[in-house]
Amino acid sequence: MGRDEDNNFAIEVSDLTKYYGQFLAINKVSFEVKTGQTFGFLGPNGAGKTTTVRILTGVINADSGQALIASYPAGNLKAKQITGVLPETANAYVDLSGWRNLLLMAELYGIKSKEARQRSDDLLKELGLYERRNDQVKSYSKGMKQRLVLGMALVSDPQILFLDEPTSGLDVQSSRLMKIMLQKLNRYGKTIFLTTHDMDEANQLCDQVAIINKGKIVAIDTPERLRLATKGRHSVEISFQGSVKPETLAQLSGVSEVERLGDKYRLYTNTPGDLAVTLVNYSASVGLKIVALNILAPSLEDAFVSLTEKEHSHV
């Protein structure tokens, strides 16, 4: 039984700082991840996401601060034993078969041979790679390689998973399969630490997200609360059966800007409820049928942009 169950935190990070020469990569980063949570770590390129993951997975050491994985210091063999890692730039061994890659990882985690074979079989089937299990990985597509790399992170049945940009550059099917697997793993009680650029992914998968910019945490909250706290522009999205000039819509009460998006319009406003009523009344008055009408609050992406740009403008 992991010691994380004593305090209910799978990951505890306080004042983590790392320099590369004179460059301050992360600056007093602190956060906690509860056991069983999916925690999103968001930030623009070069913000310090991968550096943080590398410290937490014991690949590099921090210059100061503390990182605990299930109460064990990050990098400690006990901490590594209960974690599975999908590094951002990691590859499988392309000269080995998919099957052999999984067995290699299982052996490095000390899994007994029979169990390792069974788990490898199950994972290869679940990841849609079973038919190609004996082929060298160099013949796999990018999506297949990334699925295999996820399998390599899972073969030890870890309590905590670190996934650095797991769906970056993947085709829709592979990306979808990954997301389904992550949701399933979370349901089974795994703690997942996920870095991503994909706001939809973070929104769908994460219980909590932290946004890091220029090495500093600028926000930590649930995706929904972050989104609602953003002082972004609200909007109403509408599509009509028939044509309407955007200039006409721009003259409606409360509309600050009109944007055409394919077969629909997005109308920005400070009073989305009132504008929706105005739009319904307007369409009835001119005999236009509304196909769809949606009131939109700021998205997680808006929150991300707002927080990272605000930080940028302070520098």
Binding site: L77, K78, K80, A90, R100, L108, F162
Partner: protein, 251 residues
Amino acid sequence: MSELVRFQQQFRRSLTIARKDIQIYYAKGPVIIYGVLMPIFLFLAFTIGRSLPADLMIPGLLGMILFFTATAVSPIIVPWEAQARTLERLMSTPVKLETIILGDILASFIFGAGISIVPIIIGLTLGITIASPGILALAIILSSFCFAALGNVFSTPPTNTPATVNMIAAGVRFPIVFMSGVFIPLDELPIWGQNIAFISPLTYFIDIARNLMHGQGHLPLVIDFLAIIGFTAVFLIVAMKLHRRTMPRRI
């Protein structure tokens, strides 16, 4: 968990890493060129046309092949893994850095010790006798491990280009071969040449091989073995310390 159990666990994982290295790196071009072809051609270049007796020639051939093969695999593994982006994953698994390094050295050691059988068979075919096969086998095992550890030291500069590491390794390998009594027995070297020869680990292996095949060595066998063990310890310590410093810079 006791220290002994932890040590056994890490050693088993070193063997896993060594097996992976054998499956991947033995067939790589630089290993074949530097580990097999280079010593054969170098030896032929220096022996063809000279009338050396087999019991003087075979120890030199054995020493050179053992040295080149045992130092052929270990230098390229770490830079190759860093370049192929497999190193970060390996470092995130529950293995110590020393476990990874030992695995790489073991893969190189097995390659060196295994291929050394070829010159021994050639020697036996040519009619040489080995005074004590057991002592020769021990010398091959210890020396192959020593040379593999030296090969690993070559890979410590934080470059991820195997060709650069091979260039560094070649810059050390060739002088060592020339100063270790491979082509000229130690007794025939001038005093200054002998003094230089003593700073090479290969010297001591060739001295053991000549002692056992030619019946006459320059140093007592005990001194040769102690020197090889001493060099091995130094190479292991240097490799571990330097890798600990440079490994994070490869990622």
